[in-house]
Symmetry: C2
Subunit: 322 residues, 2 copies
């Protein structure tokens, strides 16, 4: 099924969710000569006509004539599918994914949270899955234009792919595209990412602030650390390795060094989009409770976010006075 | 020192903080014939000229010529002083209180939180102290006018008064004024009040809502219950009796039955006044930690409130852009 080129296996890539993240990694792979097929929605017409622009801290570039689609039925089967939808749209995968799959397709879920692979695997019991853990600040600022501000590495954690060489090829392709990419242990990587995601995503929404403000004030700096330590204790109870106090300190120091930052959930909230509460909070909190190690502060944060989301929904109903 | 009237001891009352709470209880005592001396600040001139108005669910009334002062130096020594200042103003007590005290004066602190008696006792080692635990919805809506919406009971918890008869006389005077008043065990009463105060005061500020909205949504209803249970566990560790799960359920059911309510901290926040974070949160949280039973959700709430207060302070500084 794979293309070959000069005797070398050339993987064919598909991107579902050509936004700030999927657009960036897909475009970098395409620029480095990989075959990449992009599914677009709102900005299909623009990209079809003008191509895809990437304004990047690593250097701007432009794909003048990418393979773009507004209908999965017209897309070819791919060897690797990068899914970079918001996890709140994962109910669309049973419709979007099948046309792109062959028997040995690797689906890489470049999504936030805990539990996405488990759920997608239930929907597609035979598909090969990996987690894509992106460390990137980027945004889609206008149709057909990805603005990549900083960072950009991606780690690949194998969830259910029996073909280890395929995982290595994907990692190598990303590296050949100039991206820092490593294969990592799945559970450790997902939970390490949660150490940053769970405190900062919700707290910047709840307190309507950015990362730096939370760390400047001693009371909230301590709270962020305690929330991170809840994850450390839960992973210990679950037997997940590599999520320890040292990593917590590293995350805090790293965030201190970042420019003031609004995590994706804060952006979702500000732009009136649904927040990824299910996979960033509810799922890991449930898993921790089942492991006998509940995370009270993060549970409280989940309740606050659910409340905020519900209040907003009710306020946007026309019959409710505000 | 006490007045006598028909052979009966008549206590002379002073009120420091003639606001929504102090104004109400003082006015009711005065209406029932007690001698009450009110310290006023902003609305002294109005009340001096027009008297004190009480619009009350128990029936409106008007004190046409109350004893009012704008300077404690002119006030007489009193047998009972009701202190109904916000606890954020307790630094003023060393100036306000001494002129009203004789050797057997009982000072009743009608204030929110945990630790006020301890701190006032440190400032006045010899004074007799009691806690006044008011369950009342009232507001000062305009100068010289107290608006009493509902409830109105007050419990008296003896902190350091060796004269048990004096406590009983005060309770009897309140009852004679038509107020539901009981003597209660000090520590139990203060912590029972905290069971309601700690969750609802802060959460209505953090989520900008009223009590009913918090209880309507399952996630926040559960959170409120868990926050209350943190206090139950801490009091058990401290050996304080009578703060149990049954009381928690009673508080939730009682609040369900209330009209949508904005607790005092929410009103303080809305009107730009400092919040009583020290006595409603920091002090009880510290005591619980020292007892080896920290309250993580309420600690998180404290951090959120401190953050909000600080952000507001910084936004009101003229040199900071918003």
């Amino acid at each position: 099924m794979n293309n070959t080129y000069n005797g070398e296996i050339r993987l064919r890539y598909g991107v579902i969710g050509t936004g700030a993240v999927g657009g960036f990694y897909g475009a970098r792979l395409a620029r480095s000569g990989r075959e990449v097929h992009f599914l677009l929605h709102r900005d299909y017409d623009f990209v079809k006509e003008h191509g895809l622009f990437v304004d990047s801290c690593d250097g701007d570039f432009h794909l003048s004539n990418p393979h773009v689609y507004n209908d999965v039925a017209r897309m070819p089967q791919c060897d690797v599918v990068l899914v970079a939808l918001k996890s709140t749209n994962n109910h669309m995968l049973p419709r979007l994914l099948p046309p792109l799959l062959h028997e040995r397709t690797l689906v890489v879920l470049i999504q936030n949270g805990i539990g996405v692979e488990e759920d997608v695997q239930q929907q597609f019991p035979d598909v090969w899955l990996a987690a894509g853990l992106a460390f990137i600040c980027s945004a889609k600022t206008e149709p057909g234009r990805v603005c990549h501000q900083c960072y950009g590495s991606i780690n690949i954690g194998n969830y259910s792919c029996p073909d280890e060489a395929l995982i290595q090829s994907v990692t190598a392709d990303l590296q050949a595209a100039g991206i820092e990419a490593h294969e990592v242990e799945y559970a450790t990587a997902r939970w390490r990412k949660a150490v940053w995601n769970m405190p900062f995503n919700g707290m910047t929404v709840a307190l309507h602030c950015q990362t730096d403000e939370l760390l400047q004030m001693p009371a909230t700096r301590q709270l962020i650390r305690e929330q991170m330590m809840e994850i450390v204790r839960a992973t210990r109870a679950m037997g997940v390795e590599g999520v320890d106090e040292e990593f917590v300190e590293k995350m805090i120091v790293t965030t201190d060094a970042m420019t003031p930052y609004s995590p994706s959930m804060r952006l979702d909230w500000d732009f009136g989009r649904p927040m990824e509460i299910d996979y960033i909070y509810s799922r890991p909190l449930q898993i921790a409770r089942q492991a006998g190690c509940p995370m009270p502060r993060l549970e409280m944060l989940e309740a606050e976010l659910r409340f905020m989301q519900k209040q907003r929904q009710e306020k946007t109903k026309p019959h409710v006075a505000t």
